[in-house]
């Protein structure tokens, strides 16, 4: 009686029918049950690997994550990060013992750059995390709810977007007092409007989809629709934005550090290091060069990764 229609129009149908023949009463293995997801992930990996810039971005990000995770083990002079002073070795150019040279306190810059990775990761994660956590729900509510609710949320969002984010963060830190915690807090406060905008636009288009109406026709409540239908379909652009924002957040925190409002010396924060190093330019060039290069490569890595993710997650660019 079971005569499934197999149309030639679906390429993966071959995979389905192949398993069909073995359809027995035995429980299916993990691989069989998740064949679809496995294929999808392999497709993503395949497309990602084809692009050089995506792979470069991924390499840089992985390198950065490794440094953040194992920094204290990798750094040759871990004590350099906590303000150890060795005046006999101060401002030494790069040598075999100090690959990136030493700073005005004689601390090893190489060690300090490595130890700074963890601070930067922490900053990036918290800022984008809070930004998304606040922005995404607001965006979904604004987009799905419409009416005055949307008007209120979007006007407030626009208010925030109208003021340059860094300037606003600057004002907040100045009010709260300098320090890395305040700096992160201030940046998180100005970071969410971007997510509201993005998610609201996406929600507006997703909510017109037939499957949302279909869910309504079977009696789904609004929270159910938001969680099960709208959010999963907004996820791709959110992931892309978050990966790109990681780089921007690190850069912004470094900027605040550079003008002395972020991490305070001797904390090994890249922005703060450049801030001090500025006075030693250009004779002691290595002092600012290496923390600067660290910021540059990290931000570049996250941006390339985000670009690559957008290419594979965007259905329009999906030529399978």
């Amino acid at each position: 009686m079971t005569t499934p229609i197999t149309s030639p129009s679906t390429p993966p149908a071959a995979a389905i029918t192949m398993i069909d023949q073995t359809e027995l009463s035995r429980p299916l293995t993990f691989r069989e049950r998740h064949a679809s997801q496995i294929r999808q992930w392999r497709l993503y990996a395949h497309m990602f690997r084809k692009s050089f810039s995506s792979m470069l971005g991924l390499t840089l990000v992985v390198l950065f994550l490794l440094l953040a995770a194992f920094g204290p083990l990798l750094a040759p002079y871990p004590e350099a990060a906590s303000g150890a002073i060795d005046m006999s070795n101060k401002l030494m150019p790069p040598t075999g013992a100090n690959w990136f040279g030493t700073d005005e306190m004689g601390a090893d810059i190489f060690s300090r750059v490595i130890m700074g990775a963890r601070t930067s990761l922490w900053i990036g994660l918290i800022i984008t995390g809070i930004g998304a956590l606040v922005g995404v729900p607001l965006g979904i509510i604004a987009g799905y709810g419409g009416g005055w609710l949307r008007a209120i949320i979007m006007r407030i969002t626009e208010l925030f977007l109208a003021v340059p984010g860094l300037a606003l963060a600057l004002a907040i830190v100045a009010a709260l007092g300098p320090g890395i915690t305040n700096c992160v807090l201030a940046l998180a406060l100005v970071w969410w409007p971007g997510y509201v905008r993005l998610v609201e636009a996406k929600t507006l288009s997703v909510k017109e989809e037939l499957f949302v109406e279909s869910a309504r026709s079977i009696g789904a409540r609004t929270p159910w629709i938001l969680w099960h239908h709208i959010l999963p379909n907004c996820l791709s652009p959110i992931i892309v934005k978050m990966s790109m924002d990681m780089g921007m957040a690190i850069l912004s925190a470094a900027s605040l550090g550079f003008i002395g409002l972020g991490a305070q010396p001797p904390a090994p924060e890249w922005g703060a290091m450049i801030s001090v190093a500025r006075t030693y330019m250009p004779d002691w060039w290595w002092y600012s060069l290496f923390p600067g290069a660290a910021i540059f490569l990290t931000v570049l890595g996250f941006n390339l990764l985000g670009d690559g993710l957008r290419d594979i997650l965007d259905p329009r660019s999906r030529d399978r």
């Binding site: 197999t6 030639p8 071959a14």
Partner: protein, 552 residues
């Protein structure tokens, strides 16, 4: 001038995908002589569109010609450079596309778009571009040729001001602008209403005669092909399984697939052998009525304040156990009506009575409870399923929302439902994009019957599907109704389908009921002019396709 105009020899085309190369075209042999009209019939995925697009050099990306080639008027065009294509595309070979809206730029006037095409052709041909006035004259001549009234006024109008049929005519005019030798029509009538379909097909026929055009038309609608094409080829899974004179193929199909395809075409002139519903209530509406609508209205207010009535005071009564047909062309308000019956759209005024209870005032929890008993099957199964949910999740969703069943019970029920709609249990781990259209529609039906509803509203459930799949789904729907004791409201623009399965039918036009009654009576002796026109237009293509039945 000797030799065929278009000659396709042993053409094999592969498309490279992640899962390896897909053999889309497998050794196509096809010749088209000057003055020929060739129809290519095939279901979606049979490779017919890829074939004609290859003829125009706009084949899919990542494709590779494995073997064979295409010769156009003695010139090998299999591997032409982009520069050489500009001398052929639109000038020697033109194409009409399926959806007339998306192929016209909404920002420019119709006249401007056609004159631009003329200018481009002149440039490509190496002559100077003729002055604006001359191009305007030529454009108006073209618009007149495709039977559009008042070309000089039309010249300054924008696409959105035209109806679907007029837009398709504009596209045809545009395709004729370069005086092509070969015109390719890719499903030129699929997106149009029945009455307009017939007109567009007539137009193509008259153009063939007047301009001595050579036409290759592809369609999944055998009726449309039969109306236009003298010769026809049947494509199936990348192969041409049969070709010859259209009349021969229709009356004496040789290949097994062609026979199946022809058998699946519903015949507008055949009184259907219906499976009678079990509890046929012969007495008129009253105790037997499951769903009633009283004077339903929906009025939309545009931003300028103008009121547009989508549905104007409709009253109807659906008896328990019957299949109630709603037929009408696009814009007749039938989808709006269906959504109002389910309270997916708020009616402006009027009452909906389901099983003796007025549901038009319900809100919140009572409305949610109500939804268990009446379910909707959407027109387009491709977008009615959330692409990020597995089939198992999709079928289990109504149970998770409406019942307190445990996860394990829901899994079991979803498997049982897959069984009912005759799909393998394996499918619960699959995602919608991995299924074919017919399979997806079965999933949508499984989802709709998960809560054991009493009423199903089916909004064009087969119009997005191929003909042979449509027949299967229709059979299956009738079977299911008998098994589960369901009542259907069946909405369609396809009269043959309506006649095949509906007990009673209403005909809608511009938000009003034109005529209603027993389906058979409606088809045998329509009382209203509109119904007659509708049936005549439907008959035109249907009859051509059903030559086989009448001949044998």
């Amino acid at each position: 001038m000797t030799g065929p105009l278009l000659d396709i020899r042993d053409y094999r085309l592969d498309i490279g995908t992640f899962d390896g190369p897909v053999h889309v075209l497998k050794g196509i042999n096809l010749t088209v002589n000057r003055g020929d009209t060739l129809g290519i019939v095939g279901e979606s995925g049979s490779g017919k569109t890829v074939l004609v697009r290859s003829v125009l050099g706009i084949g899919p990306k990542n494709s590779r010609v494995v073997e064979g080639g295409i010769t156009f008027d003695g010139q090998d065009i299999t591997r032409l450079s982009e520069k050489d294509w500009t001398k052929i595309r639109g000038i020697r070979i033109s194409m009409i596309f399926q959806d007339p809206m998306t192929y016209l730029n909404p920002l420019f006037t119709v006249g401007r778009q056609i004159s631009d095409v003329i200018a481009a052709h002149e440039k490509a041909a190496g002559q100077g571009v003729s002055p604006k006035a001359a191009r305007r004259a030529r454009t108006e001549e073209l618009l007149d040729q495709v039977g559009l009234p008042n070309p000089s006024m039309l010249f300054g109008q924008y696409p959105h001001q035209l109806s679907g049929g007029m837009r398709q005519r504009v596209l045809i005019a545009m395709a004729l602008a370069g005086k092509p030798d070969l015109l390719i029509a890719d499903e030129p009538t699929t997106a149009l209403d029945v009455t307009v379909q017939a007109q567009v097909l007539d137009l193509i026929n008259s153009l063939v005669e007047k301009l001595n055009l050579t036409v290759v038309m592809i369609s999944h609608d055998i009726g449309a092909i039969a109306t236009v094409a003298k010769r026809c080829a049947v494509m199936y899974r990348g192969e041409i399984v049969e070709q010859g004179l259209t009349a021969d193929i229709l009356s004496r199909p040789q290949h097994e697939y062609t026979r199946r395809l022809l058998a699946a075409v519903p015949d507008i002139d055949a009184a259907a052998a219906k499976i009678p519903a079990e509890p046929v209530a012969p007495e008129p509406a009253g105790p037997g009525a499951l769903l009633e609508a009283i004077d339903l209205r929906k009025i939309y207010r545009s931003q300028s304040g103008a009121e547009v009535a989508a549905v104007k005071g409709i009253s109807l009564s659906v008896r328990t156990g019957e299949i109630f047909g709603v037929v009408g062309e696009s814009g007749s308000g039938k989808s709006t009506l269906a959504r109002m019956l389910l309270r997916l759209i708020e009616p402006t005024s009027g009452d909906i009575i389901f099983d003796g209870r007025n549901i038009s005032g319900l809100a919140g929890e009572p409305l949610r409870q109500m939804r268990r008993h009446m379910q909707f099957v959407f027109q387009n199964p491709h977008s009615a399923l959330n692409g990020r949910h597995t089939i198992g999740d999709a079928i289990g969703e109504p149970l998770r929302i409406q019942t307190g069943m445990s996860r394990r019970d829901i899994e079991a029920r979803a498997e049982a439902l897959l069984d009912i709609v005759q799909l393998p249990k394996m499918f619960k781990y699959r995602y919608p994009h991995e299924l074919s259209g017919g399979q997806k529609q079965r999933v949508c039906i499984a989802r709709a019957i998960a809560l054991n509803p009493r009423l199903l509203i089916l909004d064009e459930p087969t119009s997005a599907l191929d003909i042979s799949v449509q027949a299967q789904v229709l059979d299956f729907l009738q079977q299911l109704r008998a098994e589960l004791n369901l009542t259907y409201v069946f909405i369609s623009h396809n009269l043959a389908v309506i006649r095949q399965i509906c007990d009673r039918t209403i005909v809608m036009k511009r938000g009003e009921i034109v005529e209603q009654g027993e389906t058979e009576r409606l088809f045998l002796s329509p009382q209203q002019d509109y119904t007659r026109t509708l049936i005549e237009s439907g008959r035109k293509t249907s009859r051509a396709a059903n030559l086989a039945d009448h001949a044998g």
